[in-house]
């Protein structure tokens, strides 16, 4: 199986070349953002306020566990959280800030596929629950923005990642593995007698 190696910041061409089913690794910097951070990013335009650049960036739906060590803050567990909760905000966040990839679990609303196609963005699935596994691909914690105000799980963690593995499950060509599986499972349920 071939693996597409992506480096941040992602350029539009690299993102548009991806298709559902592609296995990728991400190296560079990702920013965690979940419920609270999405409400914040989708509120007023905060580009001037963010201590990092989101254009060409990767958002990771994740609330990590950090541990203070002599060598500084270290992430010990950091798997994906359910992305569907971010559905109400993501279109605006992707469009306004120029985000090129989202990592999460469970997939996102079909409506986002139009945005992904128009601006060039993809959704990457990571395996839910595998926090210890993904932490091994996380290096330096560059910053934890809004920790005081949002609390650690909801803060925006700026993380250096190395070879972070994921699968393209929503692409910039209107494809979604989640839509496919949802339709297939509904058909299977109908075959089992569910209306």
């Amino acid at each position: 199986m071939s693996v597409v190696e992506l480096s941040t910041p992602l350029d539009e061409g690299a993102v548009r070349a991806l298709h559902v089913g592609d296995v990728v690794t991400v190296t560079g910097v990702v920013v965690t953002a979940r419920d609270r951070a999405h409400a914040y990013l989708a509120g007023a335009d905060v580009r001037g306020e963010l201590p990092f650049e989101l254009a060409g960036g990767v958002i990771y739906h994740c609330g990590p566990i950090g541990q203070k060590t002599a060598a500084g803050l270290r992430v010990i567990s950091a798997g994906p959280t359910t992305s569907a909760r971010m559905n109400p905000y993501e279109r605006l966040v992707v469009e306004r800030y120029g985000v090129r990839a989202i990592i999460g679990k469970g997939g996102m609303a079909d409506e986002l596929l139009e945005t992904f196609s128009r601006v060039g963005c993809v959704y990457l699935s990571a395996y839910g629950g595998c926090g210890a596994l993904y932490a091994r691909h996380i290096g330096t914690v560059v910053d934890v923005f809004k920790q005081e105000e949002f609390g650690a799980p909801e803060a925006l963690w700026l993380l250096e990642v190395q070879g972070f593995p994921a699968i393209v499950t929503m692409d910039a060509h209107g494809g979604s593995l989640h839509r496919e599986i949802r339709q297939r499972s509904r058909q299977a349920a109908a075959d089992l007698g569910l209306p």
Binding site: M1, R36, C62, G63, P64, I65, Q67, I76, S77, A78, G79, T81, T82, A84, R85, K105, G106, G107, S125, Y127, G128, G129, C130, G131, A132, L133, A135, R136, F150, G151, A152, P153, E154, I167, T169, L177, H178, I181, R182, R184, S185, R186, A188, A189, D191, L192, G193, L194, P195
Partner: protein, 291 residues
């Protein structure tokens, strides 16, 4: 005794956050063998098994969501409920700081997360009488993703064609699994509670999540219902991580209580594959003292 018990509870938290029960690991291993080599389902299960191994080896939480603590405590006669409650609510504070766990207790009005993992309503504690002279503490660290996809149904449900019988229960369980898709970290363990009040149905469904996967109900019709529900759920093709495959659930466990003639509630509660359940008996050995 309180401090010794609190220490043991912190160790229980550590064990649960970093080590899955053997029956769940075994079920995941067996599931991996039934999925085709190289398939998304197989890759997901192998990643899960690797995650489990790393967590044990490095003594780190397998999942960053270290859950909402759900206690079921059997209390012997003469135990002070206040004392026991105090220990159960102080231990999580220490566990969050020492292991560390993620602090998952948030004020819903201010959005403030005090950072110590406890607050009004957290942990959730259910008490029941102990069958003997010891305290039996059952704890489940329940992930938020799987909690969010749980559903409560009131039967009959016309849309689902679900009546007040086993076929109706089957219909709502399948509906809940289809709606959950990959959001609750499948393969999940499904707890079903049938009762005459909404709170009783939910509590009964959650209680089922503590049953070992090979636990069979005494009533034969219940055993066959559980088996049938599991087989049907695994025909939906949602699969591990919701990326397709044969293994959508590791088990379906059903609890039934009596109901009011007017009411028929069925709750479907999910536990993610990271089913971090375990027990602590206190004192550790029967007859070890009058704790």
């Amino acid at each position: 005794m309180d401090d010794a018990l609190a220490r043991e509870l912190v160790e229980l938290y550590r064990r649960l956050a970093t080590e899955l029960p053997d029956d769940v690991v075994e079920a995941l291993r067996e599931a991996s063998e039934t999925e085709e080599a190289g398939s998304p389902a197989r890759l997901a299960l192998d990643a899960i098994l690797e995650d489990i191994a790393i967590a044990v080896r490095d003594r780190v939480p397998m999942c960053q969501d270290t859950g909402l603590p759900l206690f079921w405590v059997s209390v012997p006669p003469g135990s002070g409920l206040r004392e026991v409650t105090d220990v159960l609510t102080t231990a999580p504070r220490r566990a969050v700081a020492e292991i560390p766990l993620r602090s998952n207790a948030v004020d819903p009005l201010t959005g403030k997360n005090p950072g110590d993992g406890v607050g009004p309503g957290i942990p959730v504690i259910h008490f029941e009488p102990s069958p003997d002279e010891r305290l039996h503490i059952r704890l489940l660290l329940k992930g938020g993703g799987s909690e969010n996809v749980g559903r409560l149904y009131s039967l009959p449900d016309r849309k689902l064609g679900a009546g007040r019988d086993a076929a109706g229960i089957r219909a709502v369980v399948l509906d809940a699994v289809v709606r959950a898709q990959g959001m609750g970290c499948p393969p999940t363990i499904v707890g079903v509670g049938v009762a005459g009040s909404r709170d009783a149905a939910i509590a009964l469904a959650k209680r089922q999540l503590f049953r070992p996967l090979d636990d069979k109900p005494a009533r034969p019709e219940m055993a066959s219902l559980e088996r049938e529900l599991m087989e049907a759920a695994n025909r939906l093709g949602i699969g591990p991580a919701g990326l397709g495959g044969r293994t959508t659930v590791l088990g379906v466990k059903v609890g039934v209580a009596f109901r009011h003639p007017a009411s028929y509630f069925v709750d479907v509660s999910f536990c993610c594959w990271a089913c971090r359940r375990g027990t602590l008996d206190w004192p550790p050995e029967a007859g070890e003292g009058d704790a």
